[in-house]
């Protein structure tokens, strides 16, 4: 198997789905000639032409709204918003329409579209390029919200997202884009949307995380083993909404302790929902308060202080140890 970065793996998913299905097309700012500002759509224009790899004018509401229209007429658009921080320009289109045409038409129209965007910190970028606001989408009925953590899952999930009859918001952790390589099979691979995965087994503590936070969380789990003799289970959510609460419920009912790790702001953040579900379904199993290791409730600072905003191994360890010591 070839070793790929996440950028290459996503590119592969796009290429193969376009090869297989003429209805799949790609649109966004600079996705054509330029191959995307992160080179995720590189080579697609040459392979499929400008009708199928569409360099749009600079307008995010348009990108989302036009994709909705395309889906109504049977296409399967994969649109790119250059950075998640600009996806709020199209938020009303996703909330009012992508999420609702199925219901509004009483089942007639499927908005089979994927809205891809890089999110999160880690690339020394300017303001608005480092946010992690998946909650806006996760709280919106009718949308699905997916966040892969590594190249192989990104490829498999994107293929599933493109084939999913519902609109999928696909947040790509830009810190992971070129951070490491993974073996990615050339042959088709999918991964079910709505399903999380236990990526490390353990009996003492459950970590729930996703996206760029998976790596430091696994590192923390390893340290806990080495330094504290603690076996931590790590769950990679992969889909944020609809939330797969089965796997983490099962895990926490075994370990009795949970730590949630995400880049997003803490208050009204994704972790709160996981805590709520754990309280609802596993109250009597909980041996300690569930800990949130998260971004703070401030605008993410420019890159010099970014590392203090984004959870790192030290903060994860601290949260885990407090939970274990409770």
């Amino acid at each position: 198997m070839k070793k790929m970065t996440m950028v290459e793996a996503i590119n592969l998913a796009l290429k193969q789905e376009m090869e297989k299905d003429e209805d799949v097309l790609v649109l966004g700012e600079d996705v054509g000639m330029d191959g995307g500002v992160f080179r995720v759509t590189k080579g697609l224009l040459d392979a499929y032409g400008e009708d199928r790899v569409i360099d749009t004018p600079l307008a995010e509401s348009m990108i989302a709204g036009v994709s909705i229209g395309m889906a109504i007429h049977g296409l399967k658009p994969v649109c790119e918003i250059q950075f998640s921080g600009f996806s709020y320009f199209s938020f009303h289109q996703m909330e009012a329409h992508a999420a609702r045409y199925r219901g509004r038409s009483h089942g007639r129209f499927s908005i089979q579209m994927v809205l891809r965007c890089p999110y999160g910190g880690g690339v020394r970028a300017l303001e608005h390029h480092s946010e992690s606001r998946e909650v806006y989408y996760a709280h919106t009925p009718g949308l699905k919200m997916v966040i892969p953590s590594g190249p192989r899952k990104a490829r498999a999930l994107l293929v599933s997202a493109i084939r999913d009859p519902d609109p999928v918001i696909f947040y790509e952790p830009k810190a992971v884009y070129r951070a490491f390589r993974e073996e990615v099979p050339e042959d088709e691979e999918t991964f079910p949307i709505g399903q999380s995965e236990v990526v490390r087994e353990g009996k003492d503590l459950t970590f729930i995380t996703y996206g760029a936070m998976l790596k430091p969380t696994i590192d923390a789990a390893e340290t806990l083993k080495e330094e504290d003799g603690v076996e931590a289970e790590v769950i990679d959510l992969l889909t944020i909404s609809p939330l797969d609460d089965e796997k983490f419920t099962e895990s926490v009912q075994k370990t009795g302790r949970a730590v949630i790790v995400h880049e997003a702001h803490r208050s009204f953040g994704p972790g709160a929902e996981m805590i709520a579900r754990l309280v609802e379904k596993s109250f009597l199993y909980l041996e300690a308060p569930i800990c949130r290791v998260t971004g703070y409730d401030v605008v993410i600072p420019l890159y010099q202080r970014e590392k203090d905003y984004i959870p790192d191994v030290k903060r994860i360890l601290k949260g885990a140890r407090e939970t274990l010591d409770f």
């Binding site: 036009v66 329409h97 007639r108 089965e246």
Partner: protein
Amino acid sequence: MPKKEIDLEYKIEHLSILNQDGELDSELEPDISDDLLIRMHRMMLLTRRFDERMLNLQRQGKMGTFAPIKGQEASQIGAVVVLEDEDWMVPSFREMAAEVWRGKEMVDMLLVFAGFNEGSRVPEKSRTLPVCIPVASQLLHAVGIAYAIKYKQEKNVVMVFHGDGATSEGDFHESLNFAGVFQTPCVFVCQNNQWAISIPRSKQTRSKTLAQKALAYGLPGVQVDGNDVLAVYSAAKEAVERARSGKGSTFIECVTYRMSVHTTADDPSVYRDDDEVKQWEARDPISRFQKYLKDKELLSEDDIEKLEEEIKSEIKGVIKDWEDKMKKMGDPADMFEFQYAEMPPHLVSQKEEVEKNKANR
């Protein structure tokens, strides 16, 4: 200071064929079959009466909020009759006449306004979108469909409706720009009915016409008398032909008037003069069309009387049907349907919760 003028190769024209007294500019008379003329008239009258009846039902508390179309029949019917069934029609929320022409069941309209989601269903073959409440947002769907048509090398077109107020929204701008850049087969029909709730056209924008906004996107724009069904038809026909033959989008401003309330929740006496309404009553699109049809000997007073009776009983039938249907509806657990193609686990369990609650009541 003297500067070099740039030739924009551009002008904005106003089209009027049948004036407010029903007098014809015969040079401009479009070639419409007698049969089509009669069906257009019937639909205009039917939807006028249906509109009146709905207002009535709403006032009786039998329905929630809706947006009457009174006065805009010509600008809707004149445009929409130009479409083929396989063309797409994208309404805003005030195109009841155009929707009914396209096959939308009147009983479904009543259901929506009476608060049943079922009424917004779109039958399998229909290419008319459900109404769109968020102003101007549907324009992007229209150009997206148009792009898809072009991509698939099909020959259909899209006609999208919106109001004068809608021209102020960012989504309007982004749609027309997309249409210009990609030369999509989409016809924009602006129902300039002079008001956006309480905001008159003059306060909506400082541009002299709405039609001229097309220039910003390199698109042709034209202004027509929207109460003149022949003018609307002619402009729409030309625009649809342009679109169908691959020449791209046209923007049509129909100058018409909202003779009734904005919606049933609105009281226009607060903000507009009765005099203005009276002036526009004299420009009613239906009476002027009737005069034309009479002049052409396609219609007599007798015909009109018979038609009115026919329409009355048709509407009565629809209402009966509606009342019957409502009795069979309203299972609360239905709200979980059609949220996703497949119901995810959390909705399955919430649905069970609702069913349990229902059983316990």
